[in-house]
Subunit: 303 residues, 2 copies
């Protein structure tokens, strides 16, 4: 048994803002990513390759808040974060504050595989990228008119930083189980529209935004990053399995539908375990998401 | 019942490198920090104030690898990380890659109390500091000849980055329980001598280096940061209590003395719970540490 689950962010996503044409594009983007990840698994590839592939396609897709199409900081830049983890070895890689790397998740993976470290930041991470021959793109590559308009609306005070509309807290991620029985997880984000002070959310934090351990599960989260940091949300799911004897489904339900709302925290997560149990839960009105397992048909959902 | 526990780093710390005079100075530094934190608690102050005060004194003390006396990066700079967390509210603050802030833990606390974020990085964190009227020091303030010599030895290839001598992986931290029954934890570090690429270790990561939750415990870790990131070590202790019904002592023992050595990970941690149970465990030959509880005499230890 093998499978892959992806997400493209959780939020309010008012249906009024989602035309039929727009919905088709989002669905096509999710389908493309999940099909590509699934193809890797079907050919006997690793879960690490599958989540990397799926997340890179979501990063390349300007609809999602990661890589190209990332939201803007208050001073009009794109600062991107990503992380990845391999459940077999507990090896992990994370990067934050990138401005010129096309695929942040690819650099996170390079940190994991080719450095002795887990996490590198900003210009230092990009210096490492250069030393590894990873190619750079101009900052204009990340610019999309839709994201720029969202920044303009923030600057005009039309909505505050803590609004949870999909337009400014989206993130992408993937978790997978491969035919070898190994788990992996990856998450990538442009962060929060109008962010300042090189704010880091949960996406590049191993334990908060991303976690994978063959003995428990693989998790990628999306939502109000500050709360997911405080609850160490990705590892919290793994710990419920590891120490509390929870099933994956009950662990995620209790965390996302009970504990987080009690704290006032909006968001969701995707998870998979070694028995190919798949969970996609969110306490927001919507989460871009999709999943497929061996022999099943890929499904993508928004609401 | 109330109490405070501090650490000043775990490592091999060869006795040959520790003269009687040197040992006296380390003990005096630990004693000063623990007495100051204890005084806060004794006067009815908060655990947050107590851990801040203790960690700031360790940051100000050039003997320890945090604030003044931080180790040098490969290109001869000091880059400091810190984090703090309040067990009553789960509020947390973290900063990484600071170069000009005298007390990194103070800035982490300002992020927690005066921003809507948990984690700020580098120049952005320092811009936030300036906006809050937090004073800066010149980079030369952090420079000590001992740390510079250690960098020279790294540069000369005398020992590699992954050696675990106290001289280059030390960190400071404190956990406390106050008279109001609230827990807090804080950690601060200069990181790893000779680090490159703006490497971030576990110290500024909520869940890995620092965690506090009134319902479980307060934890501050020190050691091989990459492994503490992968095991989400601070929150792992809290999760063992929360979901596994472990006592604080058995949770820490199993993590530090069994799981981490099995992974090849060297280090230690300090922890306290709401019943004033105190644990200080390490799988290295030494850990600078000390503790005191209401009505007891403060004790400091190295080996």
């Amino acid at each position: 048994m093998f499978g892959i689950v992806i997400h493209g962010g959780a939020g309010t996503l008012p249906r009024a803002e989602m035309s039929g044409d727009s919905e088709r594009k989002y669905r096509a983007g999710l389908t493309e990513a999940i099909d590509a990840g699934y193809a890797v698994l079907q050919e006997g590839g690793t879960s690490l390759d599958a989540v990397s592939r799926a997340v890179m396609l979501l990063e390349d897709n300007p609809l999602f808040n990661a890589g190209r199409g990332s939201v803007f900081t208050l001073d009009g830049r794109n600062e991107m974060d990503a992380s990845i983890m391999e459940g077999r070895t507990l090896k992990a890689g994370a990067v934050c504050g990138l401005t010129r790397i096309r695929n942040p998740v690819g650099l996170a993976r390079a940190v994991m595989e080719r450095s002795e470290h887990v996490m590198l930041a900003g210009a230092g991470a990009e210096e490492f990228a250069a030393s590894q021959g990873i190619s750079f793109v101009p900052q204009s590559y990340f610019h999309t008119p839709e994201r720029w308009q969202q920044l303009e609306r923030i600057r005009a005070g039309e909505f505050g930083l803590s609004g949870h509309t999909i337009s400014h807290v989206g993130t992408v991620g993937a978790v997978a189980l491969d035919t070898h029985g190994h788990l992996a997880a990856a998450t990538s984000t442009g962060g929060m529209t109008g962010k300042r002070f090189q704010r880091i959310g949960d996406s590049p934090i191993i334990g908060a935004g991303t976690y994978a351990d063959n003995q428990t599960c693989a998790v990628s989260t999306t939502g109000h990053g500050e709360w997911f940091l405080r609850t160490v949300q990705a590892y919290d799911i793994a710990a419920r399995l590891r120490y509390g004897g929870y099933s994956l489904s009950s662990a995620v339900s209790e965390a996302i539908m009970q504990r987080l709302p009690g704290l006032g925290a909006a968001g969701g997560l995707i998870a998979v375990d070694q028995r190919a149990q798949i969970v996609m839960r969110y306490n927001t009105p919507a989460m871009f998401r999709g999943c497929v397992r061996d022999g099943e048909t890929a499904k993508v959902y928004i609401y």
